[in-house]
């Protein structure tokens, strides 16, 4: 009974205070003062009320539990003697705590536990390098204006003249698997070298394994601040900005969220966030822009907090679903019920992923067929030249064949890609075409050499004389059929390497899908199954061809 009465009184007070605050306060300072005053009025009466807003609980306990990253240089790390935390995120938390007249209490969160910690009431607010996107909007309440914004930056040697995509198109860039920026990098004609762990990227720059690196600027900032690396490498340009938001729990945090919004607005307007960024040595262009924006008359009042001209939207990270996404979900649920686990199928759940997936399959098939045809044509051509009795022609053919044989597959593909890009403007079709030519050259030359050797052996048998004739050529092809078919299979097996030079085949497409969707295990298992199936099909086709072309030999074998 007493509890219910207490709750009613608190509720009435809140409604009254809210009414006054929203009706009368124009500036964020006034609104904040009024909101905090009204909250303090309820302390300690509402302290025992389990329904009270988190703001009341913070004021009652005299501490605010802030979820921060354990080790994220420049944003949240331990100080030298391990007694406290330093960094931009923790400084922002301290500034907020000061305004509330409470002490911050640090709660260690990881990237994967930031939102769950809020949901489980492990922290009052999370300030932990968290990008604000539409997918997360359904899981936590994000505070706007955003307290920071990161972007993916391209880092390269200081002396390199790089400022746009055109300056690096066709080059190799190091990044991490699943990076949000990967699909953008590929679409700009860059060749990706993928690392599992972002921590290896600065080391790869330092050891000159990579000349260019693309990753989040907030992550790379600390490494670039180190003179050993920073004196040689610098950010060239940025793209794909992501606003960072503080977040509170979705329920029971209305007042706390409002207070944090107002504090953020004031801190942007007064340049306090900008100053904290400067003190911590992080990139601050966004905060400079925000400082100017929130000082402008249009964003000066509390009404600006709902004005799209002042607050940024969340990053749209929820791709539209496919028409059959619900059926996919249903199948997944059934599988989970039956087997206890179900594969993630991002390529069937979202439309952009599905489009990439289908395009990847089509391009892979085009690539395989193209590589097989190119191998066959080049094999017949090289075989013809190698079978000619003219020594000069044979020597030239041998030189070309030996050179191509001497090059690792991936290097030949890169060289072919470089030549193609020098002749034509880069495009996925050019990458696909150059890969077909390269695979055809590599395997066709080997098969052609086998035809030449077969022609020689036929001459030694004394069946065709010393000259060249069509029957000799035809019989040489028949004699080297096994070799030709082996190199056709080899050409099919080599096609996925074309993804390294930007050919938009299935491996490349699925790598793009993992940059914006989960389910890497399923994705890469699928691509493995696909290519094994393709190779099996080619093996089967080659066997069928062999039986058709060489029935006599088959019978003898049997």
């Amino acid at each position: 009974m007493t509890r219910a009465a207490l709750f009613l009184v608190t509720l009435c007070l809140q409604i009254w205070v809210w009414g006054i605050a929203t009706a009368s306060a124009e500036t964020p300072d006034e609104a904040l003062d009024e909101l905090l005053s009204a909250a303090r009025v309820q302390v300690p009466a509402a302290c025992d009320n389990p329904e009270a807003d988190r703001l009341i609980r913070i004021l009652c306990s005299g501490r605010i539990r802030v979820g921060v990253r354990g080790h994220y240089p420049f944003f949240s790390t331990r100080n030298a003697d391990q007694t406290d935390r330093v960094g931009y995120d923790t400084d922002v938390a301290r500034a907020i705590a000061r305004r509330l007249w409470v002490a911050p209490e640090w709660v260690h969160v990881r990237a994967a536990t930031r939102i769950s910690t809020l949901a489980e009431d492990g922290a009052d607010v999370v300030i932990a390098t968290m990008g604000h996107n539409t997918r997360r909007d359904g899981q936590a309440r994000f505070i706007r204006p955003h307290y920071y914004r990161s972007e993916t930056i391209v880092v390269g040697p200081g002396e390199a003249d790089i400022s746009t995509w055109e300056d690096i198109s066709g080059q190799r860039i190091c990044t991490t698997i699943g990076n949000y920026a990967n699909s953008n990098l590929v679409s700009q004609g860059l060749r990706l070298t993928l690392f599992r762990d972002a921590g290896r990227l600065p080391k790869a720059l330092d050891e000159q394994i990579c000349r260019l690196v693309a990753h989040d600027d907030s992550f790379l900032a600390s490494y670039l601040a180190d003179p050993a690396l920073g004196s040689r490498f610098e950010p060239k340009f940025g793209f794909d900005p992501v606003p960072w938001g503080m977040a509170v729990a979705q329920t029971g945090s209305d007042d706390l969220a409002r207070v944090l919004q107002l504090i953020s607005q004031i801190m942007h307007r007064d340049g306090e966030l900008l100053e904290l960024a400067r003190e911590n040595g992080i990139f601050n262009q966004f905060l400079k822009d925000q400082n100017e924006l929130w000082q402008s008359p249009i964003c000066a009042t509390t009404a600006a907090l709902a004005d799209p001209a002042c607050v940024l939207p969340a990053l749209d990270a929820t791709p539209p679903p496919t028409a059959f996404a619900d059926q996919v979900k249903l199948i997944q649920h059934r599988m989970e019920a039956l087997f206890g686990a179900a594969p993630a199928l991002p390529m069937l759940s979202s439309q952009p992923a599905f489009d990439l997936f289908i395009a990847g399959i089509v391009n892979s098939i085009v690539l395989v067929i193209g590589a097989l045809l190119a191998t066959l044509v080049i094999a017949l051509l090289v075989g013809l030249l190698a079978a000619l009795p003219n020594r000069l022609t044979r020597f030239l053919t041998w030189t070309v064949v030996s050179t191509i044989q001497s090059s690792p597959v991936i290097l030949t593909l890169v060289v072919a890609g470089a030549v193609a890009n020098a002749i034509f403007t880069y495009s996925p079709s050019v990458a696909l075409g150059s890969a077909i030519v390269a695979l055809g050259l590599m395997n066709g030359c080997n098969a052609g050499q086998a035809i030449g050797e077969a022609a020689n052996s036929l001459r030694q048998d004394g069946q065709h004389g010393r000259g060249f004739s069509l029957p000799l050529y035809r019989e040489a092809i028949g004699r080297s059929l096994t070799q030709i078919l082996s190199f056709l299979i080899n050409a099919a097996k080599g096609t996925p390497i074309a993804s390294f030079t930007g050919a938009p085949e299935l491996l490349s497409a699925l790598t793009d899908i993992t940059s914006f969707a989960a389910g890497r295990v399923t994705t890469y298992s699928l691509v493995l199954v696909f290519y094994i199936a393709v190779v099996f099909c080619v093996v089967w086709a080659c066997d069928a061809l062999r039986k058709r072309l060489d029935p006599q030999k088959q019978e003898n074998r049997a």
């Binding site: 690392f195 001497s406 690792p408 991936i410 470089a418 030549v419 190779v535």
Partner: protein, 210 residues
Amino acid sequence: MNNLKAVLTSDYPAELLAGMVINFQISTIALALGLVLGVLFLVAGPVVPRTVNTLTGLMRAAPTFVVMFFLMNIVPQQFQVFGIDILLPPEWIVALSLAPYAIAYVVDNGRAAIEGLRAGSRSAALLFLPNLVRAFTVLVMSSGVGVAIGVNEGVAVVLREAEKYPALGDQMLVYAVGVFAFGAFFQIGFACVRLMMRFLSPPEGNRVSE
């Protein structure tokens, strides 16, 4: 010509050789894995022929590049075996992705060697050795795919050096040096195979009796 001199007198040749040493290391690991597991397959072959044949067929068909990405995404970077922490560097990922080819190769050539022995031809069985050298050569050339996951091997060195030059002609020069280095190894490798073949092959007259 001046550019060639500049390329050859730079750090590039030394770095390329250092990179190729990594290619050799990767290939050695892959071949060792291939030998160990291949022999196990050969031993298990008569007991469970269908399983061994199916697995060998799958390994023969699996493209190295896809297997490499598959392993990179499936196998954890760090894991425990009998309480011991094992860190899997990218070089090992490349070696593991080459292992299916090596296993299938060892099984195919091992079977031929065993059949040769059964037929009473020691020399036919000994051809297994030059075939191993051939496999090693192929593995070295294939290990260049490691560049796609950040392994600092020979091809990575070539590509990194080429990116320093804006002109296509200079880039081609760098590529040519790389191809020459790999080509020299390739030709030496196959010369060894030919020599071993010649050494192990029986004289013309003895062939019929074997």
